[in-house]
Amino acid sequence: GAGVSQTPSNKVTEKGKYVELRCDPISGHTALYWYRQSLGQGPEFLIYFQGTGAADDSGLPNDRFFAVRPEGSVSTLKIQRTERGDSAVYLCASSPQPWTTTDTQYFGPGTRLTVL
């Protein structure tokens, strides 16, 4: 079946602009995660959805970042007033059974965001 997909694959914007990044999880996966990967670093957790609600948003760096998952499937990460420091690859992952010990997160290819 299809894996996690993310659109766009690349996004170039100007400082101060608003951007939206989309994630389509694997069908049937209840949990969805967003991570950010800066150059030369490992991914860093941003937010985790269980169904429609954000179960853990402790990784969002500030209030310019917001994410939604209104129908429990597709999620959108929204960044307001972008800054050059927001440039990174934004990764989305989904998992089928986050309440189990054997749960695994499956990652999408990411969206590379460049803020000029």
Binding site: A31, G42, Y48, T101, Q105, G108
Partner: protein, 114 residues
């Protein structure tokens, strides 16, 4: 706070040689442990994971990892490296209980010489 250390930023090995990538974690209890591989333009792919039980874990592509509680380590190994193994490798931990965020190390870039 939990943390993951991958002390080797870059490693170069010859094709056919053995490989060991190091990973140490800092956490009060035993977390769940993972190794992921990331090739250019590709998403992270899970190689293997440890939750409990046998401390030697087998994964895909001929990789294995051994959990050593006394050393807080989860090193990744492969007996014979193929050129296609060139990629970046990430160790990650997750708090026990599932449904939680992964904390990643900074990664080890593997280069394979033919």
């Amino acid at each position: 706070a939990q943390s993951v250390t991958q002390p080797d930023i870059h490693i170069t090995v010859s094709e056919g040689a053995s490989l060991e990538l190091r990973c140490n974690y800092s956490y009060g209890a035993t977390p769940y442990l993972f190794w992921y591989v990331q090739s250019p333009g590709q998403g992270l792919q899970l190689l293997l994971k440890y939750f409990s039980g046998d401390t030697l874990v087998q994964g895909i592509k001929g990789f294995e990892a051994e959990f050593k509680r006394s050393q807080s380590s989860f090193n990744l190994r492969k007996p014979s490296v193929h050129w296609s193994d060139a990629a970046e490798y990430f160790c990650a931990v997750e708090l026990s209980g599932g449904g939680n965020k992964l904390t990643f190390g900074t990664g080890t870039q593997l280069k394979v010489e033919l």
